[in-house]
């Protein structure tokens, strides 16, 4: 089974979010970049499937050369080869076009992504790639098991879960608890250096959105403490000051 895992290159979840150049660029001073937490699930699932389904795993990122360390990390976790599409990931549509263009040239039985990137939170690349290629896409998938040419899956919906089956090939946007996160070991890090690593050029695609600028939410005011013996006061503040009920 051939699996493609598409990963994002995003600021660590604890990063301070700030912008520079008149709020037009992300301030990456002292920012650590990681594989998006949802794609950590996707890559971990794919590596599990090397054992359970004899999978061969390719990991892909659409990004500049600065994203290579996260691709190397995915190789260290256990992916067999890496591909970087040399392009700036401008918006969801552009990224979906690049990924779909690549998949069309190859053939994969299964494509795993994260449910959404944790920087731009679009959450639609999987569905767009599926629509462009005419293959199903499901998200957020929290369980996946292959049985012959059918996969049994669980998807999270508002207030619960949906159980379903689909035929391969398809795309799944992953979230917990689809697999246990894997951490690269020393052997993985060593072998990652010699695994195939391809850089391919982007295909032409129109842009359908343009970023104007960024802004930060207004700062929170100071907290008001209420005495634990005066819970009535909290109720009063919520009702008459905050007016939430």
């Amino acid at each position: 089974m051939k699996i493609l895992v598409c990963i994002t290159h995003v600021p660590d979840t604890t990063s301070r979010i700030a912008f520079v150049e008149n709020n037009t660029k992300f301030d990456n001073t002292n920012v650590q970049y990681i594989i998006g937490p949802y794609e950590d699930y996707a890559i971990s699932k794919a590596v599990d499937m090397k054992t359970s389904d004899n999978a061969h795993v390719t990991v892909l990122n659409v990004g500049g050369s600065e994203t290579e360390p996260v691709l190397r990390r995915a190789l260290a976790i256990g992916a067999d080869e890496a591909v970087r599409i040399n392009a700036t990931p401008v918006d969801s549509y552009y990224v979906a076009r690049q990924i779909a263009g690549y998949i069309k040239e190859q053939s994969y039985d299964l494509v795993l992504m994260g449910r959404e990137s944790i920087d731009f939170n679009g959450g639609i690349v999987h569905a767009m790639v599926g629509e462009i290629l005419g293959i199903p896409a499901f998200s957020p998938v929290m369980q996946l098991e292959i049985k012959g040419d059918v996969a049994e899956m669980t998807r999270e919906i508002e207030g619960g879960k949906e159980y379903f089956q689909a035929k391969l090939p398809f795309i799944a946007g992953c979230q917990e608890p689809i697999a246990e996160w894997k951490i690269p070991n020393m052997r993985g890090i060593m072998t990652a250096r010699t695994k195939p690593f391809k850089v391919i050029e982007a295909i032409d695609s129109e842009l359908r959105s343009v970023n104007r600028n960024f802004e930060l939410p207004p700062e929170k005011g100071d907290i008001q403490y209420v005495d634990p013996d005066d819970v009535e006061k909290l109720y009063d503040l919520l009702k008459n000051e905050a007016k939430v009920f």
């Binding site: 979906a96 569905a127 767009m128 508002e158 005011g221 907290i223």
Partner: protein
């Protein structure tokens, strides 16, 4: 050219978030001299039509074929796309959900439309069509310009607001059937709490963490939630430990909420949890550790023992009813 709004149901009722989408669409319609057409698929309670009208829906197209009773992304997307073509709509607007966002993405591809999800504010419709959307899990916003003629917009829950704007709704029942060639999935079951307020849609959320010490101590949280008409949430360690189901996990990798009131009980406020609640309008933190970082991100706080404070709070709420 009407603005099309996908009206998602919970049971046979239109979701509150979809009514918010109607309000949002109405504001755009007001600026562009167009009308708002809601589309409902599958069975619907009769009173729902006037409910949609209350928020400014001019017309409802009801795809009443029973084949739509089970929501399937591919079938819904195909049908909604057909309606969009027929109505020559340039806008497809929906409230964000696990069903609606993939549908929106598919329609954007089918229609060669620009798309924006996680949208928090009305568009700036000057020379350019610009939108504000939430990014970095609520820690920032992005202003983007949608450049295609057609636009698909998915609104973040609890950000558009419900604005009454009563209209007499015309209902058009359509016999459009699901296209069996597009069925790409077999849904085998659902495991869903019914009759409860959906966490992502709730106006009030009561959330608890490891400070509650064990799953058996949740009954006071449930009582508080019931008294407030709130949904229940939890922190990641709590859902990881299996004390509560994953669909209650609020945070960076869980559900992101934006209620009017978020009450955090025994949750320290790790940055990953804050990422899921930062869009809340008012946050109350109850924790016995005065150093809990959550206190730095809240409007009101009580440093105290949740097992004493919560029963008192329940009493006060009951007394004031």
């Amino acid at each position: 050219m009407p603005i099309l709004v996908f009206l998602e149901k919970e049971g046979n009722n239109i979701r509150k978030s979809s009514l918010e989408a109607i309000s949002y669409a109405c504001a755009i319609a007001g600026k562009s001299q167009s009308t708002v057409t809601g589309v409902v698929l599958g069975d619907m309670d009769e009173g729902e039509t006037s409910n949609a009208g209350l928020y400014g829906c001019d017309k409802i197209i009801h795809l009443s074929d029973p084949g739509f009773n089970q929501p399937v992304i591919s079938l819904y997307a195909e049908a909604l796309n057909t309606v969009m073509d027929k109505e020559s709509s340039e806008f497809f607007i929906t409230a964000q959900s696990a069903l609606a966002d993939p549908i929106a993405a598919k329609i954007a591809i089918k229609q060669n439309a620009s798309i924006a999800t996680n949208v928090t504010d009305l568009p700036d419709m000057g020379e350019e069509f610009a939108l504000k959307r939430s990014i970095y899990s609520g820690k920032a916003y992005e202003n983007i310009v949608l450049t295609s003629a057609k636009k698909v917009i998915s609104i973040k829950k609890n950000s558009a607001g419900l604005i009454e704007n009563e209209k007499a709704v015309k209902v058009e029942v359509s016999d459009l059937k699901p296209n069996p060639d597009k069925l790409d999935v077999q849904i085998t079951g659902k495991d869903k709490s019914t009759g409860k307020i959906l966490l992502p849609e709730a106006d009030i959320v009561v959330s608890a963490g490891r400070g509650l010490k064990g799953p058996d101590n949740w009954s006071m949280v449930e009582t508080l939630a019931e008294e407030l008409g709130a949904a229940i949430g939890c922190s990641k360690p709590v859902s990881d430990a299996g004390w509560r189901p994953h669909h209650e996990h609020v945070g960076q990798t869980g559900i992101k909420v934006a209620p009017n009131l978020y009450i955090a009980i025994g949750i320290s406020g790790a940055i990953q949890h804050l990422a899921g609640v930062s869009s809340s309008k008012v946050i109350v933190v109850i924790n016995n550790d005065p150093e809990a970082p959550f206190f730095n991100n809240a409007e009101y706080g009580i440093v105290g023992d949740a097992f004493k404070v919560i029963p008192k709070l329940i009493d006060v709420i009951r007394k004031n009813k």
